[in-house]
């Protein structure tokens, strides 16, 4: 691992040590965040999968009855029958915080509570298949709405997890090794200077002792 381009001084060493401590702490925190996000994510995504399979299945069935209905009725009648819906759906949402990721929590309001009251048309001119299609669609509606919330959460969470994982890896495999390497380098360099200094002093002392002996001999 490449070391940072810094001067091997004591000041630099102190600075790097502080940086390393911060990096280690950040790494630990981010790792915890990643693990918790993952735990939440897996729970939600399992739910998402099951819900989606169920909704898709029901939608395809509803679509099939609708296709039959549109074959049995003229397009004008069909459109006319569905033109003015009896119920309306509106929604409100607030944010829920999952490990600092804001995910929406939807609250749906349907203006109509009675499930048998959804047909916006009289039964005289419409085919029975249309009733089937509308009924099965209205039955799947709560699931369809819940799917929106779950799937959005999954989308947002998966992106946050990816980001966090990259940060953790960058710290673990780049930042921290680099700092450690540089700190080691500076420590070595300083020690080496210290030894060099010491041996120089000893050498000077030897020379001075010899000098003194020579002048004492006579």
């Amino acid at each position: 691992m490449a070391r940072l381009a810094v001067n091997p001084t004591r000041m630099e060493l102190t600075r790097l040590k502080i940086r390393l401590r911060t990096a280690m702490r950040g790494h630990k925190l981010l790792k915890d965040k990643r693990d918790e996000l993952m735990k939440q994510f897996l729970e939600i995504v399992r739910h998402n999968r099951a819900l989606r399979l169920k909704v898709e299945d029901a939608l395809i069935k509803a679509n099939q009855s609708f296709t039959v209905a549109s074959a049995a009725m003229s397009p004008e009648f069909l459109e006319e029958a569905l033109l003015y819906p009896k119920q309306s759906v509106s929604l409100d949402f607030e944010y829920k915080n999952i490990m600092s990721v804001s995910v929406p929590m939807y609250e749906f309001k349907t203006s109509n509570e009675d499930p048998s009251e959804i047909f916006p048309y009289g039964f005289a001119t419409t085919s029975g298949e249309l009733d089937d299609a509308v009924l099965s669609l209205s039955q799947i509606l709560p699931d369809l709405l819940q799917l929106a919330q779950v799937e959005k959460s999954v989308q947002l969470l998966s992106r946050e997890i990816e980001k966090t994982r990259r940060r953790v890896n960058a710290l673990e495999y780049v930042m921290i090794p680099q700092l450690e390497e540089t700190i080691r380098y500076i420590v070595m360099k300083l020690d080496e200077n210290e030894r060099g200094n010491l041996s120089r002093l000893m050498k000077v002392k030897d020379m001075m002792v010899q000098e003194a002996r020579k002048s004492n001999a006579y």
Partner: protein, 104 residues
Amino acid sequence: MYKIAVIGDRESVLSFKALGIETVAVNDAAEAKEQLHRMAEEDYAVIYLTEQMAADLKHELAIYAERVTPAIILMPGQGESLGIGLRAVKEAVERAVGADILGE
């Protein structure tokens, strides 16, 4: 108060009208894209889009996936499910975990 809408071909969205959800019938993906952009600017919180339309709108979907609103949810239109919606779930798992650990 936020709104919900369904975008898709006429056949697919008509039945949603009965439920009181706003429906937008479009003829092709380009039109769907236009509607999508318009709705994203207005206060639509949830938009259901048929897979048939979504197949050509990968780029747009990726943009909106990063934003909290609107939530664009794929659903099968007329005919068979194309599996795009399910694949998106799979991709989310791969993105987060690194491999699809849910499997079949």
